[in-house]
Symmetry: C2
Subunit: 353 residues, 2 copies
Amino acid sequence: MTTKYPAVRTAAGPAGAATAGDVLAGYLQAQAVEFLRSLRLHGESGADADEAGEAARLLRRSARRIAGALYVYRPLTDADWTDQLRTELVWLSDVLGREHAYAARLARLRGALHRLSGAEGGGAGGGLTVGAARAGALLERQLTLARTRAHSAALQALGTSRFHAVADAAALLASEVPLDPGARGLPAGEVLPHLAEQAQRRLAEAADALPLAVAGHPYNAEALAHGLAAAPGPDGPPAEGRQDAPWHQVRRLVRLRRYAQEVLDEHGQTEAEPALSVRLLGAGQALDRHRDAAEAAAAAATAARTPRIAPATAYALGILHADQRHEVEAARFAFGRIWQRVTTGTPGSPGSP
Amino acid sequence: MTTKYPAVRTAAGPAGAATAGDVLAGYLQAQAVEFLRSLRLHGESGADADEAGEAARLLRRSARRIAGALYVYRPLTDADWTDQLRTELVWLSDVLGREHAYAARLARLRGALHRLSGAEGGGAGGGLTVGAARAGALLERQLTLARTRAHSAALQALGTSRFHAVADAAALLASEVPLDPGARGLPAGEVLPHLAEQAQRRLAEAADALPLAVAGHPYNAEALAHGLAAAPGPDGPPAEGRQDAPWHQVRRLVRLRRYAQEVLDEHGQTEAEPALSVRLLGAGQALDRHRDAAEAAAAAATAARTPRIAPATAYALGILHADQRHEVEAARFAFGRIWQRVTTGTPGSPGSP
């Protein structure tokens, strides 16, 4: 991407002599340009839902990267200005992401219903039970409604002055990154790896606090351990949500570590083995799947609380909930295996217990 | 056990010179004596349910062993007489086992409800949802009724002439085993291992036909693949039952192989490593767990079809069904690992995929 910004690279001289500020600015400017381009695409997409969806995806992609890089490399920036932008980018990414999230959740649950009908893997399967078909229709109705609302909310957000302020900030970022005056002079080869290392440490601490010993034991039945637990109180968070939260946090930290690595790769002189990026990507994907399955399970549980549904529908939703919690457990198991390789740097893991 | 039958051992001379017929007769006589002793205990237990249950367990234990040994070593016996006895022992073992099976199924489902309430593993869990509590009460009612009926059926069976004929046959077996005339002269060291090897081969063929590659991959979601499949027809077997049948068959073959080994061990001159018996036991236990979980899952599904239950109850039963199907999958995974060691004879298995 830096090839688009020869000015930055030239000003810094050969890559080896680049300053930390220049490298970070190069990355941020490239992402800001992507952000503005996606915004333009989104505006031009009109009624084409696919095009608008793709533009929104790209918009969120660069928003996440800008916010992530600003967080990891915060000491190099004008923190007052960038902290504010970071907050706004997270807001925007969230608002724009919801429509897609509901659509993906519905697709995941539809896929699970299909799988649970025995339609895959041959056999005389095919055809859902009446309860499963009704459960599918109920989820379709509820998640489509949520999706439509999220779509309206996103359109509305794009018309607010709050959004226009974000777009203005991105335009500023694309032309000049507000850096800390001192950062321009720091050598990239020392400062950037140091800050990326801090992101790695935060990730490692959070990951080590996860119950990885349990998760590494297949079929530990841990993810469904609160499937039938009474809520601690009318306003208390569901027990499954409490159990999932540290995993969601690690998911965010993996993402930050990935973006930190992208900035290092921009510099082109990192010592990180190429396999690290691949493993971080794999770890992130496992935790994405963890989050998606957890939210799909919650959607099934919510649907089951719909008044006046038939028992057969509720039964199917119970199976669907448990199935998705099983997916949650499988994702934790997968993350544990990848994480073992991230920390030890070994090409493969020894046998599981 | 043969120490109770010095006559047999003495007649055969030193163990090395024993005939196949003598060794088999020694094993069968010991089991027949156990059978008759358990029968007496059962008769004397009166109203003590624990004592009666334990006596029935021991009765089934020796009935299974007699039937199993008669099956594996059939060529050494008077086949007409023993085939008939075998059929009757299977009938008796089945009739006497049902009460225990319903009790165990209820205990398993109660345990699962407890686990799914988050009561284990700490946390603010504890207390079932209303639906789960109702599901538990419903299962309690249905399985207790089934258990009571099974109890009456067992008592009734013990009063039939059919049962008295089995007891008479066992008494005959305890004094003299009807062997094939030619079997008495065959050397135990050659014939018995050969017949046990045939049992091993039948087991290996059936186990190799199982989808062990899929089962060895943790979280393959295969066991629940028909959880929401419409029945193929009003009288067709449920899809999950079809999927489970080959595993149940292997379970029976593992048991036969174990009893075959017990006869060899009786001879005291087998070349089998001591670890084999341990692994066969482990393989059998994994498949017992497979069967128990499959039947518990079916009981939850049956309970969910009870008319006029609340949706919350049906939802909890759906979760319970899926949970037990996960147990089915976990048992298959465990069996696959043990089976790998039975066939390769290695002390441990390499890492899973």
